[in-house]
Symmetry: C2
Subunit: 182 residues, 2 copies
C-alpha cells in the first residue's frame, strides 16, 4: 500500500469505460429517464462535477451509450437467401431494440446520431441490394424499414381506447408490414 503513495495514486478512481458501464447499468434497470448526471455520479460514488472529467456533456454520454449498445445488435445471417435474410434480420433487430427500450428513446429523442454507417446498416443495405434494389429505391426501402422499426417501438400507446387495446400485437404488425415491404 506504501507504493500507492499520494504521488503515484491514479488521478481518476474510475475511467471512461467504467462511466459508460455504470450509465448502462442505470438505463438497463431503471430506464433512460433515471439516468441523470447526478444519479450517475452518485452511482460512481462522487459528485456531478466529476462526471465531466470523463465526458464532455450529457449528450456525449448518451452517444457513448448508443455506440456501446450498437455493437450488440444482431447481424444478418449471410447463409440465408436475401429475402429470408432480411425478414430474419429485421425481426431480430426488432427484438434487440424491444429488449433495450432506452435505445429507442435515445434515437427517437434525436440526441444521438444513429450509426447508419455501422456494420448492421451495411449488411442490411447489402441484403436489399441482393434483392435487386438499386439507387433511390434501395435507400427508400432501408429508410422505411428503419422508420417502421422506430415508429413501432416508440409508440407506447398504440391504442388508447378501451377494448381494442389488447388486440394489437406490435411485433405481429411489424412482421406484417415487413413482408409487404420486402
Amino acid at each position: 500500500v506504501e507504493l500507492l503513495s499520494s504521488r503515484t495514486m491514479p488521478r481518476h478512481l474510475f475511467d471512461r469505460p467504467q462511466v459508460v458501464a455504470t450509465a448502462r447499468r442505470i438505463v438497463d434497470t431503471d430506464g433512460l429517464e433515471a439516468l441523470t448526471v447526478r444519479s450517475l455520479a452518485s452511482a460512481l460514488g462522487t459528485g456531478p462535477a466529476s462526471v465531466y472529467r470523463h465526458v464532455e456533456n450529457r449528450r456525449e454520454l448518451l452517444q457513448l451509450l448508443a455506440d456501446d449498445a450498437a455493437t450488440e445488435l444482431p447481424l444478418p445471417d449471410e447463409s440465408l437467401p436475401p429475402r429470408d435474410r432480411l425478414l430474419d434480420s429485421w425481426l431480430a433487430l426488432y427484438d434487440a431494440f424491444a429488449a433495450r427500450p432506452w435505445l429507442i428513446d435515445l434515437i427517437a429523442s434525436g440526441e444521438v446520431i444513429s450509426a447508419h454507417a455501422s456494420p448492421v446498416a451495411e449488411k442490411n443495405l447489402q441484403a436489399l441490394a441482393d434483392l435487386g434494389l438499386r439507387g433511390p429505391d434501395l435507400h427508400a426501402a432501408y429508410s422505411s424499414l428503419n422508420a417502421l422499426l422506430l415508429g413501432t417501438l416508440s409508440s407506447r400507446h398504440p391504442y388508447g381506447h378501451g377494448a381494442s387495446e389488447a388486440t394489437v400485437d406490435p411485433r405481429g404488425a411489424f412482421q406484417w408490414a415487413l413482408q409487404k415491404l420486402i
Copy 2:
C-alpha cells in the same frame, strides 16, 4: 368601468382556451422545447403558479395541445376509390405532421395519448376495410401506417454519414413504403 368593481371582476384574467392558444403560439414558433410552464406563464403575463389554475399539470397542457391540433388533421376524401383515398390521405397526414413537428415530438414522447378514436383514425380504418382488410390484418395495416409515419417524421438524422445525407428524401421514402403497404 364602475360596473366592473372588484367584486364583479372576473377572477381569471385569461381562460383555459387562451392558455392553450398561447401554448400553441409558443410551440408553433419556437418548438416544443421552448414550451415550459414558466415561458407560458410569462407569455400570459403572470407567474408559473397561475398556469395551474387552468391546467392540472404540464402533461395535461400537452394533451390539450395535441387534442387541439388533431382537429386540424386532414380527413380522407370519400369521393376517391379506397386505394387512392388511402394514399392521398396518408400523404396529407404526412404533410400535416411535417408542418407541426412539435406534434410528432409530443406523440413520440409518449406523454400524450394519440387519439386513435378520432374521426381521422375511423375514416382511415374504414378505407382499409373498403380495401378488403379484416380483423388482425386491418389493425396490423393501420398500426404499421401509423408507425411508418411516426418513425419517418421522428428520425431527425436519417443519415448521419457524409455524402448520402442529401440523397434520401423522407417524404419520397414514405410514399414508396405507402404504396407497398396498401
